[in-house]
């Protein structure tokens, strides 16, 4: 697991109480019960944490933590 994925996991767990094991197991946000409002909130947190803009809807409910890390990396975040 990359350092970025670890950071995202910690953020999701500490801020929203998302289950760490489920994230490690590769569950998507929708599978973990993350609803649309929570997803927007998480995207806002990422913009602040990584200081990069994100468009509404860019973070998708079908994403896993690994796919989220890929999105951020493609936008310039360090892996």
């Amino acid at each position: 697991m990359t350092e970025l994925q670890e950071r995202l996991q910690t953020m999701a767990n500490e801020t929203f109480g998302v289950d760490v094991q489920a994230m490690r197991d590769g569950a998507s946000y929708e599978e973990m019960g993350v609803d649309s409002l929570m997803l927007i909130e998480f995207a806002i947190d990422m913009q602040r944490e990584f200081d990069m803009p994100m468009e509404d809807g860019e973070l998708k409910a079908k994403f896993t933590i690994a796919e989220t890390a890929e999105l951020l990396t493609s936008k310039g975040a360090a892996a």
């Binding site: 767990n13 500490e14 109480g17 998302v18 409002l37 929570m38 909130e41 806002i44 913009q47 602040r48």
Partner: protein
């Protein structure tokens, strides 16, 4: 107590059974902790780091309340603090009533919660974010977290209660209004059990600055513990507080049928409006007097039959003298009067609910808690105010009074189940 037929009430008295109590207040988390603290008569007010820099920088918070620990982060992050307090207090109430939300018939369970200011801290935090970082960074949870009605919505979710759920908003009378409405709902038969109470946590900087500017708050920042002094000649305002309190109410027949603990009865309710001024009470206390008389009539009791009053007693110069005069006119000088706000501070919309719960406990313990910080009784207050030590005494019937901004007045009569 006598039940008279000569008063203008066409119907028989309806007693709603109080079968559960939940309290999360500055006096403690749980009814035992609350009762010990209010009987000790020691104020919970303290300097509040979150209010640093304000003229009034103290409040009554619930210092040991850890929402993440009590509710889990998954629930706690998306709800405002007044809802967090409400969830824990309501769960306590349901458990103490011997009920289980996993197995009850949810369609017959109603939720009625008093609230007045919603999630002020949430709104203020997001307003700051808006101004500093722009609209794009405002949380989508701002409105869902801060709306007043969400306290009822989240309680319904948490308790799988699919009957009617709603919020009552009569400012500082909201909790009393909620209990009065809950009793009416039981009387009408539209539900079998009501989780009724109040919740408030509005200790945010702008809210506190507003209350301070209004002249409503005590300015004793250098001595917070002695700031809330109901009925004292040197009182100068209330101390803002946060809390949630709930009663579980049921019809007597059903409570008996399931061998529920019937701890006391809500036997009367009255409400009236001042129609006088947005924030000042009617100078003659006409509204609270009518609310009290209506509640007595509803309970088929005479004023001389009330043993104890848990008064609104906010510690503001106007409220306490006006309310005291009304209590004197309606109930005379016999009842043992207290204001537990000397200990808890003023929990706004939660006040009526937690004070109704304290009245139930006073009946159960046959004990009236003292009014904290009452050193020199205001000569205008011609009442028997309990001060110093808690007073052991027979309490068969109690009244709880509430007055709110907007001129809302409400009163409950609570009686012993064993009388």
């Amino acid at each position: 107590m006598t039940q008279t037929a000569d008063r203008p009430s066409a119907r028989a008295v309806f007693h709603a059974a109080v079968t559960g109590i939940g309290l999360v207040t500055p006096a403690g988390i749980g009814e035992l902790e609350n009762w010990a603290q209010v009987c000790a008569g020691v104020s919970t007010a303290a300097t509040d780091p979150a209010l640093a820099g304000l003229q009034v920088d103290f409040s009554c918070r619930i210092p040991q309340f850890d929402a993440d620990e009590l509710l889990g982060r998954k629930i706690a992050w998306r709800i405002a603090r007044f809802v967090q307090l409400a969830l824990i207090a309501a769960r306590q109430a349901v458990a103490s009533a011997g009920l289980d939300s996993q197995t009850w018939e949810g369609d017959r369970i109603a939720i009625v919660v008093g609230n007045s200011l919603g999630g002020t801290q949430t709104m203020e935090d997001q307003q700051s974010r808006f101004l500093e970082e722009g609209a794009k960074m405002v949380s989508p949870m701002t409105i869902p977290a801060a709306m007043m009605n969400m306290v009822a919505g989240h309680l319904a979710i948490d308790l799988a209660a699919t009957g009617p759920s709603m919020v009552t908003a009569t400012a500082c009378a909201s909790g009393t209004t909620a209990i009065g409405l809950a009793r009416s709902m039981l009387r009408s038969g539209e539900c079998d059990i009501v989780i009724a109470g109040g919740a408030e946590s509005a200790l945010s900087q702008t809210a506190m600055a507003t209350l301070s500017k209004m002249g409503a708050l005590s300015q004793r920042s250098s001595e917070p513990r002695s700031a809330c002094r109901p009925f004292d000649a040197a009182r100068d305002g209330f101390v803002a507080a946060e809390a949630a309190g709930f009663l579980v109410l049921e019809r007597m027949s059903e409570a008996r049928a399931r061998d529920a603990p019937i701890r006391a009865l809500v036997s009367g309710y009255g409400a009236a409006s001042d129609a006088h001024h947005p924030t000042m009470p009617h100078p003659d206390g006409a509204g609270i007097e009518r609310a009290m008389r209506t509640a007595l009539n509803d309970a088929h009791l005479d004023g001389t039959e009330i043993d104890h009053v848990n008064a609104h007693g906010t510690s503001t110069p106007l409220n306490d003298s006006t309310e005291a005069a009304a209590v004197r006119r309606v109930l005379g000088q016999r009842p043992a009067v207290t204001s537990t706000k000397g200990v808890t501070g003023h929990t706004l919309a939660a006040a009526g609910a937690i004070e109704a719960a304290y009245a139930v406990l006073a009946i159960e313990h046959q004990m009236v808690p003292p009014t904290a910080n009452l050193d020199h009784l205001d000569p205008l207050v011609e009442l028997d105010i309990v001060t110093g030590e808690p007073r052991p005494m027979p309490v068969a019937a109690a009244m709880s009074t509430s007055l709110g901004f907007g001129g809302h007045n409400a009163a409950l009569v609570i009686t012993s189940a064993s009388a």
